[in-house]
Amino acid sequence: MTKYISKRILMSVLTLFLIIFVLFVLIRIVPGNPFPVERMSAEMILQKRAELGLDKPILIQFVDYMSLLLSGSFGNGTSLYNGAPIKPILLACLENSFKIGVLSILFGTIVGLFLGITAALHRGKFLDGVCTVVSILGVCIPSYVFMIFLQYFFSYKISFFPYFFDPSRFLFSAIMPSLSLSLFAIATVARFTRNEMIEVMNSDYVKLAESKGLYGFELMRRHVLRNALIPIVTVIAPLVVDLLTGAMVIEKIYGINGVGKLMVDAIAGDGIDYNYVLALGIVFSSLYIGIMLLLDILYGIIDPRIRLSAKEAA
């Protein structure tokens, strides 16, 4: 197990390093220059470049950047446009996004599991139909469309929720965005849980357990759920990552100061803030790779077969 985990960690760190390197080089070789040519003389630009260390060879710049990064600050650490330091803004935004992300994943998994299990236990009956409709709707309505509707009806028409995100009432105003973000997760998890449960419930070993006299909750917990969980964890993994993308629009719609909104501001404005793109790129990639790593390890814990086969392969 230790060998499996350490191998996975090593691979992830290597991949992350490679991605940061590629991001860095790509951003440094972009044609054009980040300074307003009409307002700065050639001399000033040269001076500014020297100040930011842009005149050194790319590899040396990269080493400098990495050492700064590892010591906890984001490169030159300031926005190209207003000169404000990136780190505090990024941390604040990360916190907001993280909280909403965790809320929606919790929401999506719990409601999804509940719906899926209910549907599987009432296969072919009314509740099963309800679950099917919810999962179809969840897959085909983009989260931001749902968010727009929620905002229109519950904030504008009956003003129950605040129209824009209100950090002073975090939990209350986080309900709508995390609900809409979790819609897709609910749908996918519910559908997968239902199908997996039905498959496992029809399998020979569950029939054996039943014939031994095991029934009800104990049977579900020990035989059905544990085996049905593995594929379910597989669907949750990409969902967590999809959240990042969905959150980008939701944050824009609901005025949440999160990393998604930061990214939109960095790329969709008139000029592109290279330092922000680089910093956010690193943050997103580390999050993504970190989640993937965590899930890989989780598979190993849930399903001993996976870590055993990994051991044989090693």
């Binding site: 085909c140 983009p142 229109y152 993504y288």
Partner: protein, 326 residues
């Protein structure tokens, strides 16, 4: 002494009384798939929805009396130009103002353009982007997966590590890098779809290839002297088409969604072009005052996603029919 085959060494198989399953053996593979697909009412409903939207996207902008970027205006009695700004949906003869004789089924937007035409034009742009991007993805992904799966060993190892690295870059980061190098617009949307969507396709092609390459007919083909690429593209590819088409059906809604999402955040389609995403964005900006503007593009988007997902589901079931269905 060499053996020379003679005619009476062989016996014509059809002369023997073979027991052939007449029910299913006489039926071609694709015919079977089609029968299963059309038996599935939900999948048929999905196909109808998608075909209707495609028909409207093709013909509505052509048949409409307005252009999608045309600002509609009339002159009043003093000759002053009046623009049909933000009119609610109306049918000719319905109202009494300057535009009483005109029909705007979905109303007009705040620039005075007909939303009916714009919605279908937007659907057309979104569909074209999705089809083009996914088609190229399919070609790249399938070839990559088949080659990787067929050769195995070192080739497979290198190709798979490459995919692993590309696949672990979040889509958002890829988009932001592209936004640095490219201008906003259709090109950026297609490029980001090209980079992200082929990976899933190649994984499926590789898995199918691994299953098929051990079959006897591939060995037979090899024995007869066929080259690797002949085997990959002539012998294995036709047998992987089914799962790949299913994947395509699921990728198209993803592509449509990605386009809508990019246009919504402002790095996608630029004016005066329009797509479902840019229409939703425009409607969202006016949602509190003119809520009717956002409804048409959102409904078309949701119906398209629904339709393609239903078709994909139906296809997947039709390709792997369970024994009990037969």
């Amino acid at each position: 002494m060499n053996y020379v085959p003679r005619k009476d060494d062989f016996e014509f198989v059809a002369n023997r009384n073979l027991e052939i399953d007449l029910n299913f053996a006489s039926q071609g593979y694709w015919k079977g798939v089609a029968i299963h697909f059309f038996k599935n009412r939900i999948a048929v409903a999905g196909s109808i929805i998608v075909s209707l939207i495609i028909l409207f996207a093709i013909f509505a902008p052509i048949l409409s009396s307005y252009d999608y970027h045309e600002i509609i205006s009339v002159n009043d009695s003093t000759g002053k130009e009046i623009i049909a700004r933000s009119l609610e949906p109306q049918i000719a003869g319905d109202s009494t103002d300057f535009f009483a004789d005109k029909t705007f089924l979905f109303g007009t937007d705040d620039m005075g353009r007909d939303l009916w035409t714009r919605t279908w034009q937007g659907a057309r742009v979104s569909l074209i982007i999705a089809f083009v991007a996914i088609l190229i993805d399919m070609i790249i992904g399938t070839s990559y997966g088949l080659i990787s799966g067929f050769f195995g060993g070192t080739v497979d190892n290198i190709l798979q590590r490459f995919i692993e690295i590309i696949g672990s870059i979040p889509t958002l980061v890829i988009i932001s890098i592209l936004a640095i190098f490219m201008d906003k617009g259709i090109g950026l949307v297609i490029a980001s779809l090209l980079i992200t969507e082929w990976i899933g396709m190649s994984k499926i092609a590789r898995a199918e290839c691994l299953k098929i390459k051990e079959r006897e007919y591939v060995l037979a083909s090899r024995t007869l002297g066929a080259g690797s690429f002949h085997i990959i593209f002539k012998q294995i590819l036709p047998n992987t088409i089914g799962p790949i088409i299913t994947q395509v059906m699921f990728s198209i809604p993803v592509a449509i969604f990605t386009e809508a999402f990019l246009s919504f955040v402002g790095v996608g389609i630029v004016l005066p072009q329009c797509s479902l995403g840019s229409l939703i964005e425009a409607g969202f900006n006016n949602i509190t005052v003119l809520p009717y503007q956002i409804l048409p593009p959102i409904s078309v988007l949701a119906l398209l996603m629904l339709g393609f997902n239903l078709i994909g589901d139906g296809f997947r079931e039709a390709l792997a029919p369970k024994l009990e269905d037969m």
